[in-house]
């Protein structure tokens, strides 16, 4: 394996973080091509938590907690570049709005959600109240909605807002434990989460509010992503990426890297940006940029 950025072949891949590296698994249809799995990036001194992918510029973005920062690199081969390095304590989840060209992240120590342009400029705090342990965050660029989960042991919840933090609402608060993973499938309009407390994988249509269980008895989910019929999550007990068929509610496959240590964030690196309906553009800057220190 090469320790710097290794260009990915065309096609759709899963990208996930494991102990100082970002690895990829090529997808063939929805199946993991496990023998094609290898490291994309080696950052041996870092602890990478969140991973996100920008399908437009084909860049991978990640959060890192040893020297709290957000960095990015081209998956076609390129140097990792830090884009945000100041005023962060524990950046965890990261999400990209490929249409709006912005990124969103959670900070579990500062207890807030922030947004910035993909180059790190125009940074702004959009949520800074009623957060205890915010972790997973995702965007639905087509509808202009943001979703995040807070695993606060006293009152876990899944929330939504517009991309400027306005119209904030709690979507789920009952029968949650540790909702670590969150993903949104634009084709089916389903928001799905993986819970390390209730050990369930569940979905809901955020507009309708109907909730359905996909799978019970999962072990310890951390990160989560979706592609077509499958949900893929990383598991802290199994040290593996697990594929689950959303429609049959059955585990489809598992990939366990050679190195046995915790897996963190996971993202789908699409061959092409997902096509959707005409987007509702809701800028996070609608009420003017503010300084994150203010």
């Amino acid at each position: 394996p090469r320790p710097d950025v290794d260009a990915l072949p065309p096609g759709t891949h899963l990208l996930f973080a494991q102990s100082g590296r970002i690895e990829h698994i090529p997808l063939e249809g929805y199946d993991m091509k496990k023998d094609g799995a290898k490291a994309v990036l080696h950052l041996p001194e870092k602890v990478i938590i969140g991973v996100a992918y920008d399908c437009v510029e084909k860049m991978v973005y990640w959060t890192e907690i040893t020297s709290p920062s957000i960095s990015r690199a081209s998956i076609q081969g390129g140097e990792p570049t830090a884009i945000i390095r100041s005023d962060m304590d524990s950046p965890e989840g990261i999400a990209i709005d490929h249409l709006g060209r912005t990124m969103f992240w959670t900070d579990s120590v500062k207890d807030r959600i922030e947004v910035a342009s993909l180059d790190g400029s125009q940074r702004r705090v959009i949520v800074n109240s009623d957060l205890v342990n915010p972790r997973a965050i995702i965007t639905d660029p087509t509808s202009g909605n943001l979703y995040w989960a807070d695993w606060n042991r006293d009152a876990p919840k899944i929330e939504t807002s517009y991309m400027d933090g306005s119209n904030r609402r709690v979507l789920v608060k009952d029968d949650l434990g540790l909702p670590n993973g969150l993903t949104y499938d634009s084709q089916s309009s389903l928001l799905c989460w993986a819970d390390a407390g209730t050990h369930k994988l569940e979905c809901m249509n955020p507009a309708r509010g109907d909730r359905s269980k996909v799978l019970e008895g999962i072990q310890y989910p951390f990160g989560m992503t979706t592609f077509g019929k499958n949900i893929y999550y990383t598991d802290w007990r199994r040290d593996a990426v697990v594929a689950v068929d959303r429609y049959t509610g059955r585990e489809a496959d598992e990939f366990q890297p050679q190195k046995r240590t915790k897996l963190y964030g996971i993202a789908t690196a699409y061959a092409q940006c997902p096509s959707g309906n005409k987007p509702v553009v809701r800028s996070p800057y609608s009420s003017g940029p503010t300084n994150p220190d203010s």
Partner: protein, 184 residues
């Protein structure tokens, strides 16, 4: 670099037994790629997240990686719970603080090491009227707030017997009742 044509082209990986290594093409730096369980870093010199130690003994004796030692005052679902080398706890919960989450944080008192989280650290809740400079901190152990003159109670919320006017904010004043005409 196997293309130089000398017997020294290939050198053993500078990594612990079992680990493989690779050369970064641009910088020619050698990095270990499959460190032994629980370790990571360029030379497998670091512990995984949630563990601390000095597996290669780079800054003293070898200390094998072990789980963060934070007095049961961290949450296993959190990331980055302790410094990977020193073990300093970074995400104390239950209102605890300190290198090992072994004391109450500022503004709280009690026993950070109590078994039951409800018995750990309680808020000082000093009464602003009776406390010196309206301080919010108190004694770590007893929870005693620093009271103004002639003010009583742990939280400085009452006058001592024979004193009145806590509301003054300067401490309590002597009642000066005539002993002959008073009931006590």
């Amino acid at each position: 670099d196997a293309t130089q044509g000398t017997s020294g082209d290939c050198q053993p990986c500078p990594c612990p037994a079992g680990a493989t290594c690779a050369v970064v093409p641009k910088t020619r730096e050698v990095v270990c790629t499959n460190c032994p369980a629980g370790t990571t870093g360029k030379r497998c010199e670091l512990c995984d997240d949630g563990f601390f130690g000095d597996p290669l003994g780079q800054s003293g004796p070898v200390r094998a990686c072990r789980a963060c030692k934070c007095s049961d005052n961290i949450d296993p679902n959190a990331v980055g719970n302790c410094n990977r080398e020193t073990g300093e706890c970074l995400k104390c919960i239950y209102n605890t603080d300190g290198f090992f989450c072994d004391r109450c944080k500022e503004g709280f008192y009690g026993n950070a090491l109590a078994a039951n989280p409800a018995d750990k650290c309680k808020s000082c809740s000093c009464s602003p009227l009776g406390t010196v400079d309206q301080q919010t901190g108190c004694s770590q152990v007893t929870g005693q707030c620093q009271c103004l003159p002639n003010v009583a109670e742990r939280d400085c919320s009452a006058c001592q017997p024979g004193f009145f006017n806590l509301q003054s904010g300067n401490g309590c004043e002597r009642c000066n009742c005539n002993p002959i005409g008073s009931t006590n």
